[in-house]
Symmetry: C2
Subunit: 198 residues, 2 copies
């Protein structure tokens, strides 16, 4: 413990950050107070503002401080394509690394009956009425490749197909730069069954 209750309080508060244990929290607190007071004050202000103002986009449920997020509002996106992801960070990853130009729909989770998370908890009622509007022609399922993510993708694909809309799933396979030797067997068998003409 340091000689200052307030510094100890700050160290404790920093532990709400993911991956930050007691040692890192201590290092962060001293770094901010000794060398980064202006940046720390800015962080405090932006954090308070974000916590108070950022809510969910009315269309895609992603995080935004407005009623509708920038992506949903943009006129440069293909409105016939809708990509389904589990969380707002997935949107960011896809935006950063692919040339996907359609819209998104963020589930903010996945189906998990054991935890009492059903279709409405992940916004599937909102998705259904969105699909009924007839603008969307293809739904790209980009939930995680976990058991829950796969089950959620399967459930949504049935909703989509029943409305005569195309449902697609992003590809499973060997990661780029990955060596076959180190890829797990399920991935490798999916890579074979999903092979495409060269």
């Amino acid at each position: 413990m340091s000689g200052s209750p307030l510094v100890n309080q700050l160290i404790e508060a920093l532990r709400c950050l993911p991956g930050v244990g007691p040692k890192s929290a201590q290092r962060m607190a001293y770094h901010l107070l000794e060398r980064e007071r202006v940046a720390a004050e800015n962080l405090s202000a932006v954090l308070a503002k974000a916590v108070n103002e950022v809510g969910h986009c009315e269309l895609c449920r992603s995080l935004t401080e407005r009623k509708v997020c920038d992506i949903c509002e943009s006129s440069n996106r293909d409105r016939t394509l809708l990509c389904i992801v589990e969380s707002p960070s997935d949107v960011q990853v896809i935006e950063q690394s692919t040339d996907y130009k359609g819209l998104f729909f963020v589930l903010m989770g996945h189906l998990s009956p054991l935890d009492g998370i059903g279709p409405e908890d992940i916004g599937l009622d909102l998705l259904a009425s969105r699909l009924d509007q007839g603008e969307v022609k293809e739904v790209v399922l980009a939930t995680n490749f976990t058991i829950e993510g796969e089950a959620t993708a399967h459930y949504i694909s049935e909703m989509v197909n029943s409305r005569n809309i195309i449902a697609s799933r992003i590809a499973h396979g060997v990661p780029v730069g990955g060596e076959l030797e180190y890829v797990n067997s399920t991935t490798l068998s999916r890579a074979f069954s999903g092979r495409q003409n060269f």
Copy 2:
């Protein structure tokens, strides 16, 4: 980029934390906004309070929100022992891992003539008047074992000795649990020259 300017601003602001790059900042921002709003609000408040209220202890220069820090004020400390360290985090480390019960003096840096950091910048005028008060009987030098830390310790030891006060330096040597094979040669040679009877 996400669909929210405010979220992007938060990601940017989080990068003032040491060891936090773009990926971790992104993960932290989404984690706070999706799952830890209460903790995030608390962090924002504590951080603002700490930045505004935490200053330096008048006696030891460590961080505190009061005029004199808890350690300097405590009646359970041996006031004849004064340990010199470079930063407030060193105080915390020593408090956590040793049974040292004396007081501290924090330099908030080390001598570095090339960077224009001289004796007064690290509070040695304050230290001199402290030593002149006659309460301190031994000064334990616990600056880092770097070139600057060693030079600073040497400089202070001369100040201390000229006042007929004992100056001691914490021991160099092989770390506990360390294997000789992996210890660097300077450390090993210091461990030999500093050997003690068994």
